[in-house]
Amino acid sequence: MKLKKQAVSLDSLDWKILQALQENSKQTYTEIGRRFGVAHSTVYDRIKKMEENDVIKKYTTVVDLEKVGVKNITAIMTVFTDPKESENVAKRLSEASEVLEVSTSLSEELSIIAKVVAKDQDKLHSFIALGVAPLPGVLRIRTSIITRKYKEKELLIKRK
């Protein structure tokens, strides 16, 4: 049985803590408590609760892969499919390690948008020609190779 998604309700201290953790996940409970004028045990309780109900999904580290010489190319691939096969194609794409993001989208036409990484243009093309075009229901594919990134960030949490 699938659990019904119900919005967890957060108060203003929860929002402030989330925002602080998004800025820097390594801050201690004491540091966060001091910043908002509450006890570290309060901060601890709030965070534990948000971890338990999965509001907090993960603590992670943002790494500059270019700095360490990893020179992947990134492409945005738009896949037009037979509407009946759209979900299957999206699922198959999601299984590939080359594919970081997959969404279905609606514009004038239904399509699947996916972010793909590869070592170079040849590897990118092979992946699409051998791994995507042959999927049942794929009608056309349009691919744009990213030439320069100007901005890349997650949605910042705003205090409520």
Binding site: F80, L124, H125, I128, A129, V138, I141, R142, T143, I145
Partner: protein, 111 residues
């Protein structure tokens, strides 16, 4: 050539082994060929940008050699590169080579 190798070249391929036509890296136009016969037909139909893209990358000869397993046709396509044909000249010459080959094999197959 043995009858069985002719039959093999003329066979209908699985979806995974079809030739998929692109116009540039990652841009699939929605046309594919699941047999030598269909390959000849599609060469006459898809836009020449797609033909140029695959021809000069060596995709055609590679697919013909490795998937269809027709080494002779692969060689002929490869040799055509020396003429550096583009646009409609590429289409007509490629079409001629591939459809002639198909007709010959078909006749051989029918005996």
């Amino acid at each position: 050539m043995t009858p069985s190798s002719v039959a093999r070249i003329l066979r209908k391929l699985s979806r995974e082994n079809a030739f998929y036509f692109f116009t540039s890296i990652g841009n699939y136009i929605g046309e594919n060929a699941v047999s030598l016969e269909e390959f000849a037909k599609k060469i006459g139909e898809v836009n020449t940008k797609s033909l140029e893209f695959h021809f000069y990358r060596g995709d055609f000869e590679k697919w013909v050699a490795e998937v269809l397993e027709d080494g002779e046709l692969a060689e002929e396509i490869k040799r055509l590169k020396n003429l550096k044909p583009v646009r409609d000249a590429l289409r007509s010459q490629l079409h001629l080579i591939v459809s002639k080959r198909f007709e010959r094999l078909r006749k051989e197959f029918l005996g």
